[in-house]
């Protein structure tokens, strides 16, 4: 898979309270980590790329697609951005079972030609085959995480964004989920933005890391060098 270029130069609010976020044009290898303390703008960056927050000015591009451009009056709605987003709280739909959660995105795509093949592949990769008919309320933390990853992957996104995917899990579970993330990276190959404040995780998953500090890139490079 070719590296994809993301670029984000946006401003939220104006005047002295404005929050500015600048990720310069970078060619992502496959996994980019956004690393930094709380308030650095990591989740905000993901929300802006997903279209869940609307900047007051600036541009958001992925590859050669313009998702937002204030001057050109371009603002693609979230459903048209082809960006998978696993939020920190996962937001699995509580009224649907695992299968219907996982298939939700596939059903949004018209016709969903290869949904069942894709489901088989994703279910095998993330080992959720046995969970598909369970209500989400009965899943353990690690199972919920895998279900949410599967749901995001089913839409075949151009970019997968994971917001602190391991933060809510205890130490031993983190160790068990990590191989699934590596499998997504190595087997499916979807480009990933991985938000974390754990240097260990970033070193293991990401090929490139941006250290964010109050909306600005304080350092950029391979995780082993910048963290």
């Amino acid at each position: 898979m070719n590296p994809i270029v993301i670029e984000l130069t946006v401003q939220l609010g104006d005047g002295e309270d404005a929050f500015r976020l600048r990720l310069p044009r970078i060619a992502m290898a496959r996994t980019l980590a956004l690393f930094g303390p709380s308030g650095a703008g990591k989740t905000t960056a993901l929300d802006l790329v997903a279209g869940l927050r609307r900047p007051d000015s600036g541009t958001v591009r992925i590859g050669n697609r313009v998702l937002f451009d204030h001057e050109q009056k371009v603002d693609l709605p979230p459903h048209a951005r082809r960006v998978g987003y696993v939020a920190q709280d996962l937001a699995l739909f509580p009224h649907l079972n695992v299968r219907r959660n996982v298939l939700y995105g596939a059903q949004s795509r018209r016709g969903a030609p290869n949904a069942s093949e894709r489901l088989a592949q994703v279910a095998e990769l993330l080992e959720i085959g046995g969970l598909l008919d369970r209500p989400v309320g009965e899943l353990s933390g690690g199972e919920r995480q895998r279900a949410a990853l599967a749901r995001a992957l089913m839409t075949e996104p151009d970019l997968l964004m994971l917001d602190e995917p391991l933060a809510a899990l205890d130490h031993s579970l983190r160790g068990r989920i990590m191989p699934y993330l590596e499998a997504i990276r190595d087997v499916i190959g979807t480009p990933m933005i991985y938000v974390s404040h754990s240097a260990d995780e970033v070193r293991r998953v990401a090929e490139w890391a941006l250290v964010l500090d109050r909306g600005r890139v304080a350092a950029a490079g391979p995780p082993s060098e910048v963290l």
């Binding site: 459903h79 995105g105 949004s108």
Partner: protein, 230 residues
């Protein structure tokens, strides 16, 4: 000779109870159907959007709870009467509202709407918007998000609100008697109770009261059950 007369009276009262109850339930059901789309749209608007005039709309929707129902009835009469602004529009279409069964439905719907909108709005506000946002990132257009995420997650509150609106419609009196009168084809339970009480037919009034208490009990019980989480 008293026994046969008593029998006949009982038969007449039972027939009236059944007829009036059936008519009232049917009209309240129709009024609920009218409330449903209008109320959902209003509740969604109030729960999800900031716009100019929002507070005014919010107040207008709640007004029928506070204004005396008789006054609401008179306002509706002015609007829907032959010379009223809406009545004039309906006349060429051959639709007459005032003093017909349609007037009963309109009065009931207007009086029940505020209760439904309040409950539906609260139900929509309680839906975690993260679910809607994530559904969007999964490729679902706003309509699909509404139908597959917002609506199912708000369903208990919506159902409870519908039952409340329906109950209000069943018990509605003041606006109904002004707009629909007390005619054989427009007489609801509460209007019939009032008429019997006024004429001194206490037994008949009590029978109808028992009927309306039973309906009210069932409706409120159902609303409470719906509102409770499983």
């Amino acid at each position: 000779m008293r026994a046969p007369a008593d029998h006949r009276r009982k038969a007449v009262l039972t027939a009236e109870l059944l007829e009036v109850t059936g008519f009232t339930l049917l009209m309240a059901a129709l009024a609920t159907l009218v409330m449903l789309p209008a109320g959902m749209a209003l509740a969604w608007l109030l729960a999800r959007y900031e716009f100019r005039g929002r507070s005014v709309l919010e107040t207008l929707v709640s007004l029928p709870i506070v204004v005396p129902p008789v006054a609401t009835g008179i306002i509706l009469l002015k609007l829907l009467g032959r010379r009223g602004p809406i009545g004039q529009l309906l006349e060429p279409l051959g639709v007459e509202v005032v003093f017909t069964w349609r007037a009963v439905v309109v009065a009931m719907a207007v009086m029940g709407l505020p209760l439904f909108v309040r409950a539906a709005r609260a139900a929509f506000e309680q839906v975690d918007r993260r679910y809607e946002a994530i559904a969007g990132t999964l490729g679902a257009r706003p309509w699909r998000v509404f139908l597959t995420v917002s609506l199912p997650l708000a369903r208990r509150g919506l159902l409870a609100g519908l039952v409340l609106g329906f109950s209000r419609a069943v018990g509605e009196f003041g606006a109904t008697i002004m707009l629909a009168g007390s005619l054989p084809g427009t007489r609801t339970l509460s209007v019939a109770i009032y008429r019997h009480a006024e004429l001194g037919n206490d037994t008949a009034a009590m029978i109808l009261i028992a009927g309306s208490v039973a309906i009210a009990f069932a409706a409120v019980y159902a609303a409470n059950r719906f509102a409770r989480t499983p």
